[in-house]
């Protein structure tokens, strides 16, 4: 059989993912005047995970209206369609190379596309049971909260009748209420940490309003049942060591265990493209323009860091789109390889863009200091025009009446902001006005929390 001759198609901007991030990025890129945009979505319809989020609470910030997930998605996808942006549905990106060549798969075949710029907007996945190492049987009835949400809301299937939920992430909380409304008995939500990892409004509206117990500092220590789950053993954990106290364990009969134990940005394609990741966010390391370590590749939405609110995703995606368009304007229309040439795995990975010619390091790392679990962006580029920089960060634990401190490499305070409460369940933000632009001798910034 002869080798596959795939013509290399050229597009200015490829957006990978048609969820909230990809949709907002596509619209903004078009508003910026970019003519050829290609949005690739693996599902049969646009909207991503919003399609299964039939509860309300979306759009309060962005639209000033309380919308359901599908309604929020619909506002964007209708606009994308109306704007005539090319969307490839039912299409899976197999690979992205460091020189921005995408291999895509669909029922129409396999195509290769050379992109001038790429916006990564693939979203995230749920952490599975195996990642936690919960001992016990591996029977039916153990599934992630998001999968249960899809079964229930999109396929009309009940995942179970009596349910324990491990982890108090937002999807788990939403599903506790949803399953209760559909007649299931939610026995308890069990959370390893001494605080909920979901939004406070969800703890109130989804658990307290339905008298569903939230067991903090508890975990599931064993699953039972040969074929279908018959119950779980739970135990309190020591708040610091998180070791379960098996003496105080107890059995809860249930046929379903839902897991809402964290979301992991889906960066397999990014890794293949040579994009550097931040171990704390598990998303790409980016600068304030949302540029990754690979020239011309930008990231936004949950593939970059897990967001609490979709409104923030949309705004972030628009920033990524503006940066991608600026990148395309700044460089001549890229032609990474001749027509028909194929990228080979053995080819060297193109180097990261070197610093400016002045010898000054062009980027300033923003470090997660004491009390900070993760921060985005991880870098500030000094050679961009000074403007307000928005840091998104998660604290390492719950703080009350604390200060967020941004300091430089000499420990000098750059900015300080007082907060009543900071919790890992709610991503916090800090705006650094353009007036605080880093001077050329500062080697890094550090974000920390002081009580």
């Amino acid at each position: 059989m002869s080798a596959l001759q795939v013509a290399l198609e050229k597009v200015s901007l490829v957006i990978v993912g048609g969820g909230p991030a990809g949709l907002a990025a596509a619209l903004e890129a078009q508003r910026q005047g970019l003519p050829d945009i290609l949005l690739i979505e693996r599902d049969m319809q646009l909207g991503g995970i919003l399609n299964q989020c039939i509860h309300t609470g979306f759009g309060l910030h962005y639209f000033g209206a309380e919308l359901s997930g599908p309604e929020y998605a619909d506002r964007f996808s209708t606009a994308v369609t109306a704007a005539g942006i090319t969307c490839l549905l039912d299409t899976h990106v197999l690979e992205i190379t460091p020189d921005r060549i995408l291999t895509i798969l669909s029922p129409q075949g396999i195509r290769k596309i050379a992109a001038g710029a790429i916006i990564l907007a693939m979203g995230c996945r749920e952490r599975p049971r195996g990642a936690l190492g919960i001992p016990g049987t591996r029977c039916a009835g153990i599934l992630t909260a998001g999968m249960a949400q899809k079964l229930l809301n999109l396929q009309g299937l009940m995942p179970g009748r009596s349910v324990v939920i491990l982890g108090s992430g937002d999807i788990g909380l939403i599903m506790a209420r949803r399953l209760t409304l559909e007649g299931a008995q939610v026995e308890a939500v069990v959370e390893l940490m001494p605080y909920s990892s979901g939004l406070t409004r969800n703890v109130v509206q989804c658990l307290q309003d339905y008298e569903i117990p939230l067991l903090l500092s508890h975990t599931v220590v064993e699953t039972h049942g040969r074929e279908r789950l018959t119950g779980v053993t739970i135990a309190p954990v020591h708040p610091q060591s998180q070791k379960p106290d098996l003496e105080q364990s107890r059995f809860i009969a249930c046929d379903t265990l839902l897991l809402s134990v964290g979301l992991i940005p889906e960066n397999e394609l990014s890794l293949g493209a040579g994009v550097r990741l931040d171990p704390a966010t598990r998303g790409p390391r980016v600068d304030q323009s949302l540029a990754t370590s690979q020239p011309g590749i930008f990231a936004c939405g949950n593939v970059l860091h897990v967001h609490d609110l979709v409104d923030d995703v949309s705004l972030e995606a628009e920033q990524a789109a503006r940066s991608a368009v600026a990148f395309l304007k700044q460089v001549p229309r890229p032609a990474p390889q001749e027509e028909g040439n194929r990228y080979r795995r053995s080819d060297p990975v193109p180097a990261i863009a070197p610093g400016s010619s002045t010898g000054q390091a062009p980027t300033l790392p923003v470090l997660a200091g004491p009390g900070i679990r993760s921060v985005v962006p991880q870098l500030v580029r000094r050679d961009l025009a000074p403007e307000t920089i928005r840091l998104a960060f998660r604290p390492a634990r719950v703080y009350r009446s604390a200060s967020i401190c941004l300091s430089d490499d000499h420990g000098q305070l750059v900015l300080k902001s007082q907060r009543r409460i900071l919790t890992p369940g709610e991503e916090a933000r800090l705006e650094i006005p353009a007036s605080h632009w880093p001077d050329p001798v500062t080697s890094h910034w550090q974000l920390s929390i002081e009580v």
């Binding site: 080798a3 798969l105 669909s106 075949g109 396999i110 396929q155 299937l157």
Partner: protein
């Protein structure tokens, strides 16, 4: 009346079935599970053992050494993922080096080729992740890895296209022998959950349950205990950092905790070894999972918990005598057994099957078929590392042109498309359950563990099997995935 009944559709039962299907005969394989490969064969280390470990003169040594090259040969013929990645047995102190030499001597006595002692530097050159405190190692050049469920299912498929019948969810309730004056009238009656089956010959390949079946027929009573082995599985990104299978020096309980890449590039750590009273108890335990970590870290100090994708456990059938029992049962003509098949049973399977098939063929004057069919072609492979090959890409493009569903990705982690899932259902001895799809396609086996693809797979299964999604199970019995339809409120 069947000519032969094989009880047990693990790798041994399926291998014997495939070997016997070369002859003109009627053959049925029974298993109480909902699929082939639902017992010991699905949850083990997947190692092609070289054969240095077994005690010389035992069946284990004999069948291991004969089976080793056959596994590679069979895997190639059946297009089963298999790799001659070599095995290393690591010694962590100078004082343990004589034990390495003793293993080499034992292996040579068993007839194993390609055994040598390598230096610390050579170990580090081959395996940069290994503990730098290593003192030296045994290198077994013929060691390898194979997909245990891939091999078992491929053997079942090949047997099925050659006329072997598979009856699943078929439990043997009782078994009796009716001796007669001549071999022509001697036969067995097998009462099962699906009715009475009669056959001229019975092969017992029932794994941990082989003793209770055997004891129904033979006066030479057997006792099999179940030994549970627990494992951790890690992400492919980690597995890619290892080449060889890494053993520590064996203990009296077995070959100890190993660290090995799998043919799918994941990494497994394990197994533990514990005798358990309940022969169906495949749960994992906190204590043993901790033991794996505590032991594996000696081999691999870089071990971190953040790339774990799952843990699992499998049972091994251990005979008190510590060896395989293979062949004719002396007191029951027409009854054959393959009992006590624990490690290195997977490696030994081809040689065991060839011997048993030859014995049965000789005893019953079986005649080889003229029209023995080749195995069905494997499913197309969308693995990323193959996509760099333009010929492979062209082949996939041709498949998509034939069937557009071949281009619709369902499992993003393991790159499994809709057409592959549909094909897995319609292959010989096709998938009927979510786990059946998993072991035939790898959908559900990757880093998201089915979080994304399961709802779509359920739809496809329901369509192809013409049933309701609420009837679908993970692995038969009462393992339904969902508990019902959403009630529509007035």
């Amino acid at each position: 009346m069947f000519d032969v009944v094989i009880i047990g559709a693990g790798v041994i039962g399926c291998a014997i079935a495939r070997e016997l299907s070369r002859y003109q005969l009627s053959l049925v394989v029974l298993d109480q599970a909902s699929d082939v490969c639902e017992g010991t064969s699905k949850a083990n280390s997947g190692i092609v053992h070289a054969g240095y470990d077994a005690i010389p003169g035992t069946n284990k040594a004999h069948y291991n050494v004969r089976g080793n090259p056959l596994v590679y040969q069979w895997a190639q013929e059946l297009a089963v993922p298999c790799k001659n990645n070599t095995s290393l047995v690591l010694a962590f102190s100078e004082s343990d080096l004589p034990r390495i030499d003793a293993l080499i001597a034992r292996g040579q006595q068993n007839g194993v080729r390609g055994l040598s002692r390598i230096s610390r530097e050579e170990v580090q050159r081959r395996e940069p992740q290994v503990n730098p405190a290593v003192a030296g190692a045994l290198l077994a050049e013929t060691g390898g890895i194979v997909s245990p469920y891939g091999l078992t299912i491929a053997l079942a498929e090949h047997a099925a296209v050659n006329g072997v019948e598979f009856r699943l969810e078929c439990q043997v309730l009782s078994l009796s022998h009716h001796p007669a004056g001549s071999p022509e009238t001697s036969h067995f009656s097998i009462r099962t959950s699906q009715g009475l089956i009669q056959a001229r010959a019975v092969v017992n390949a029932a794994g941990v349950f082989a003793d209770s079946l055997h004891n129904l027929l033979s006066e030479d009573k057997l006792t099999i205990t179940a030994r549970r082995g627990e494992y951790y599985m890690l992400d492919k990104r980690i597995g890619a950092q290892f080449n060889a299978t890494l053993f520590q020096l064996p203990t009296d309980k077995g070959k100890g905790i190993l660290v090995t890449p799998t043919v799918e590039q994941t990494l497994i750590l394990g197994p533990t070894s514990d005798t358990i009273p309940d022969k169906t108890d495949t749960r994992t335990t906190a204590a043993k999972l901790e033991e794996i970590l505590a032991t594996a870290v000696l081999t691999w100090p870089g071990l971190r918990k953040d790339s774990f994708i799952t843990s699992f456990a499998g049972l091994r059938a251990h005979l008190a005598e510590g060896d395989f029992r293979i062949g004719r049962a002396p007191d029951v003509p027409g009854y054959y057994l393959a009992a006590g098949i624990e490690s290195p049973g997977l490696t030994a399977a081809p040689a065991i099957a060839i011997d048993l098939a030859e014995q049965i063929a000789a005893d019953f004057d079986l005649v080889l078929k003229q029209d023995f069919l080749v195995p069905p072609p494997p499913l197309p492979d969308f693995s990323l590392h193959l996509l760099a090959d333009p010929d492979h890409l062209a082949q996939l493009a041709a498949e998509i042109a034939r069937d557009p569903a071949m281009g619709r990705m369902v499992c993003r982690c393991e790159h499994v498309t809709e057409a592959q899932i549909r094909a897995a259902i319609h292959r010989p001895v096709g998938a009927r359950t979510l786990d059946g799809i998993k072991r035939r396609t790898r959908a559900n086996m990757g880093r998201c563990q089915g979080g994304f693809c399961t709802p779509r797979i359920l739809e496809i299964l329901a369509e192809e099997l013409a049933c309701d999604i609420t009837e679908l199970t993970k692995a038969g019995g009462q393992s339904q995935i969902v508990t019902g339809q959403l009630e529509v409120k007035a």
